[in-house]
Every structure is written in C-alpha cells, then in structure tokens.
C-alpha cells in the first residue's frame, strides 16, 4: 500500500507504572529517506521502536508501518521491515550463515535465496561459515544488517547500529545507509550520536523525556534562528567600527585577534558587509555564515525542557 509516511504514530504512549516513558509521541517518517531518531539514553527511543515492532504493547495512541495499522496488521506490516533493536543477537554456536538460515526459515522460503547476497553486501561472505561466537562486535553488527536485508526491506529500523564500530566501520556503515536510501528504502536510525545522524540522515526527530521536542529536515533543524557570520580580516578593530553601524548587524564579538563573530538581523546580507569592508580597504580572508550544529540544537531543545522541569 502506497503511503507518504512509512512510519506514522499519533499520540503513542507507553507507561511503566507511574513513569511515562513515551508521552503522546506523534511521528511521521517520510518514505525513501534516512531519518534520525535522536535522544539521550532513556529518552524513549528504544521504547518507541519496541512498540512499533510489536515487541511491547502501547498504552495509547495509534501506529502504522508501511501504511498498515499495527498491531492489527502487524505480520503484513513487518514482512518487509528489517530491524536491529539495541544490538543484534545470534546463536553463538551457529555460523553466520546458519544464523541467517534460522531467520530465513522464520521469514519464509523465498528469503533463503537472499542469504548469500546479503552476506556479500555487508562484507561477510568470506567469514560466513565461522561460528558467530568468534565474531567481533563490528562483524555482529554487519551480520545484523545482513539479517535485516533478508526481507528485502522497504524500511530498516536500526537502533544504535554503530555501537562497537571503529571509525572506518562507521564510515562504511554511513555509506551503506546512503546506498540503501538510494535504492528507495527508508532507514530509521535511532542514535545518541548526533554527528552520525547529522551526516547520515535527511531528517530527524529529537525525543526527550518521552516527548518529541523537535523534528524536521536536518537542514531545518540546524538552521540558526539568529543568523551569524564569521569574518577574518587584516584590520579587525576598524572592521568592528565600520560594521557596527551597518544595517542588520545586531552585535559583534571579537572571538580572537583576527576573527569576528557577527550576529545579524533579518536585513543584513553577507555580500553587503563584504563590500563595505573591501571598499574601506580592509582585506577579508574569510567570510562564512555559521550553521548551528545538530548537537547545539539538540542540547538547546533538551536542556530547555530540563530548565522547565
């Protein structure tokens, strides 16, 4: 069933006794994108995922995967979903290939033909006949992804997938996520690694204290609400005097001997400021708009909540 959103939750709620772990979460994940799901440890990421996948029951709200309501049509919805929740688990006494066969048997006969391709894709074809007990953490993560691919998934739900990976492995993983998205699949990437989400994902939602506190495209989340500009020039004191009177410049900070940090209002244009400096005979070696990082945004929205609490 075609649907714009591959994951959709409305007012999804989960309580553990008195504690509300997931509090009326409304989330819409567009198809064919890499979507980050960010939050501190204990923010409600994994609980949300567990409800979506039918691993635990919700206490309120509605959910749909691939346009199909869950848990009502859970089996149909999950038929083309691959997921790693927290960390992939395997039977250590079996080889990588045998573990794949165990899951293929549960998925259905048509999935056996995908085993070799999935193992090759994650780079485990050569070591598929070794016992999983001898695999490194990184190999287990890759085998977990291979297992996800058995269902030819429209949606991959990956919960902290880069745990235990070295930098090269993380880079490979990021490339794999992008290649999966390029094939038209959706990757839902839950992580507390902000940099990882910023680099790998097209959009993200931030969950804090069980509530979604921000969501949208990464570019939108990282867009500074107060435009800032960094300027490096050969006469910073003259530049400060000149620019303080320019329209749209709200404040100037001397970040170092040569570096100025300007806070701009809506009317200011970088090109106009550059022209003023050059016409005044000031050499400009760097002029760069400042983007807020996802980390800054994350800390801002989550700490704001803490302050309210």
């Amino acid at each position: 069933m075609a649907c714009d959103h591959i994951i959709e939750t409305v007012d999804l709620t989960k309580r553990f006794g008195e504690r509300v772990a997931v509090d009326h979460v409304t989330l819409r994940v567009p198809r064919g994108s890499a979507f980050g799901f960010l939050g501190h440890n204990g923010a409600g990421k994994t609980t949300t995922i567990r409800m979506l996948l039918g691993l635990t029951r919700s206490d309120g709200g509605t959910m749909a995967l691939r346009g199909l309501p869950v848990p009502e049509r859970r089996a149909e919805a999950l038929a083309r979903v691959g997921a790693i929740v927290e960390e992939p688990h395997f039977h250590g006494q079996l080889t990588g290939r045998e573990n794949m066969r165990v899951l293929a048997a549960v998925r259905g006969p048509e999935t056996f033909a995908r085993i070799d391709g999935a193992l090759a894709r994650v780079g485990l074809a050569e070591r598929a006949d070794e016992k999983v007990a001898r695999y490194s953490q990184g190999m287990r993560q890759r085998l977990g992804v291979a297992r996800c691919l058995l269902s030819d998934p429209e949606l991959l739900v990956l919960d902290e997938p880069t745990n235990g990976l070295d930098p090269a492995g993380i880079l490979e993983f990021r490339q794999m996520i992008r290649s999966l998205v390029a094939e038209g699949r959706t990757v839902f990437l839950s992580s507390h690694l902000l940099d990882e989400v910023e680099k790998a994902c097209d959009a993200a939602a931030i969950i804090d204290g069980g509530r979604i506190v921000a969501s949208g495209p990464i570019a939108e989340l990282t867009r500074s609400r107060h435009s800032e500009l960094v300027i490096v020039c050969d006469a910073p004191e003259r530049a400060v005097e000149l620019l303080l009177g320019a329209p749209g410049v709200l404040a100037i900070e001397r970040a170092s001997s040569e570096l100025l940090r300007l806070r701009l209002g809506g009317a200011a244009a970088a090109s106009d400021l550059n022209r003023r400096l050059v016409l005044a005979g000031i050499g400009v070696s760097r002029l760069e708009p400042v983007h807020e990082s996802l980390e800054q945004r994350f800390l801002e929205v989550t700490s704001r909540l803490e302050a309210v609490a």
């Binding site: 567990r50 996948l53 039918g54 691993l55 635990t56 859970r74 089996a75 149909e76 919805a77 999950l78 038929a79 979903v81 691959g82 997921a83 790693i84 929740v85 992939p88 688990h89 395997f90 039977h91 250590g92 006494q93 079996l94 045998e98 066969r101 165990v102 899951l103 293929a104 048997a105 549960v106 998925r107 259905g108 006969p109 297992r147 269902s151």
Partner: protein, 277 residues
Amino acid sequence: MTLVTLRQMVAAELLKLWRRRGVIAVAAFFTIGIIVLFYGVRAIEHASDPTVHGPAGGLASFDRVIELMSVFFGALAAIVVGTEAGTSDLSSGVFRDLVVTGRSRLALFAVRLPAAIIVTWALTLVALGIALAAVFGFGGSDALPGAAAVIGVRQSPLPGTLGASFVIDGVLWTLGAQALICAIAVGLGSLTGSRAATLTLLIGWEVIANRLLSEISFLGHLRELLTNVALGALKPGDALPDTSGVLPSDAVAVVVIAAWCAVFVFLGARSTIRRDA
C-alpha cells in the same frame, strides 16, 4: 503459515539443538551412554560369575531398559533437550529478532516442541537399538530361548514371556513418556525463560518430588495425578518401582498425561505470546 515454512522452522530449531554440543553430549550420555554402561556392567558381571549373574541380555532385560529410558535417565535427557528448546531463543536474545519478522509468536513457540521431541527420540532410538542388539547378542541360550520364534509372536507382556509386542509396546511407551517430559520442559522453559530455573525445577520434580509424593499414602488417589504414576499405569511389563503400588486406570492415566501436557504447553505458549521481547 505453509507446511514448507513449518518444516523449515522445525529444521531451524533442530539445527540450533544439534549444534549445542554440550546439551547433546549430556542427552547422549543419559540415553546411549547409560545403555552401554547398563549392558557393559551386566556383561562383566556375567563373565565374572555366570552361576550368580545370568546373561547380560535377554528380552527380560528390556523391561529395565524402558524404565531407564523413560522415567529415569531418558527423562533427564528429555528435560535437558526440552529445556534448551524452550529457552534458547530467550537466553540468546534472538527471540526479539524472530518476533520482529512478524511471524506469529505462537508459531515460534509451536516449532520448539517437535524439534525437542525429534532430538530426544533420535538419541533414544539409537540407545534402544543398542539395547535390542544387546538383548539378542548377550541373551545366552537360557535367557533367550528361540529368539527368532519370539519375535513376531504376540505374547503376554509379563517378564519372562516377553515377545515382539512387548518390545514394540515398550518402545512406544518410552517414546510417549519422553514426549510428555519434553512438552513439560519446553512449556516450562518458555514460561521461565531461564535454563537454570527450568532444569532445577524439572530435575527436582522428576528425581525427588515425584517419587517422594507417591510414597505419601494419605494423599490417596491424588497420587494418580503424578506424572510417573500415570505413566506407570500405561507401562507394559512390570510396574514402575517408584509408584508405590498406586495404579490408576488407563483412562485416568491418559487424562492425567494429557492434562500435564496441555497445562505446560498452554503456559509456555501464553508466555511466548505475551512476553515483552
């Protein structure tokens, strides 16, 4: 779920069980190893003093074999294998990954039992094969008069006049008893999710509680609810030594066994369906 999927899921369960070498080694010892020891010791005794110790084999010895393979050591093998089948997905953490496939949790539970039974029966049938070879191989002329004539002739299932029907009945009864114990172990294992807890409870029940309770005379007919007493009622040949003379009717025994199976299978299935993964 199609039959092909069901067969493949059972095959996957079998693969998991066979690859657990420690479990298979223990179960093989409690079945094949015990039979080898049983006939080995009897053969040595007979060889050392034939006037005191009769031949090691003979059909009469088979009565003792089916006791060993059902409610004694064979029961321990069924407990070990059934517990592994019931708990392995949970203890390894793979259960969550299986649930995420969307396959019904009931199906995930249901395939554990046939796999456990197949493994237990395979080991037991090898053990019984060895036992039958010993029955004839070590039978001696007195203990096994006209063995060829005995096989195929249905005789009264009493020691000394044992025939092919007794062998068949004995094998079927042994396999039935193991299936019951496997069902209890798979159900309890799926309920607790803990290998250690399940093994402790079931071995304690099988080795201590079952026998102790059957000795408490004031329990009267309540003792007919014990697994070993019910199994004993259906046993061909001699009565089981640990049932203290309590002998329910065949109908009661069948109902009791079915109830034990149903309760533990229900509890295991319910827990598998409802548990957070």
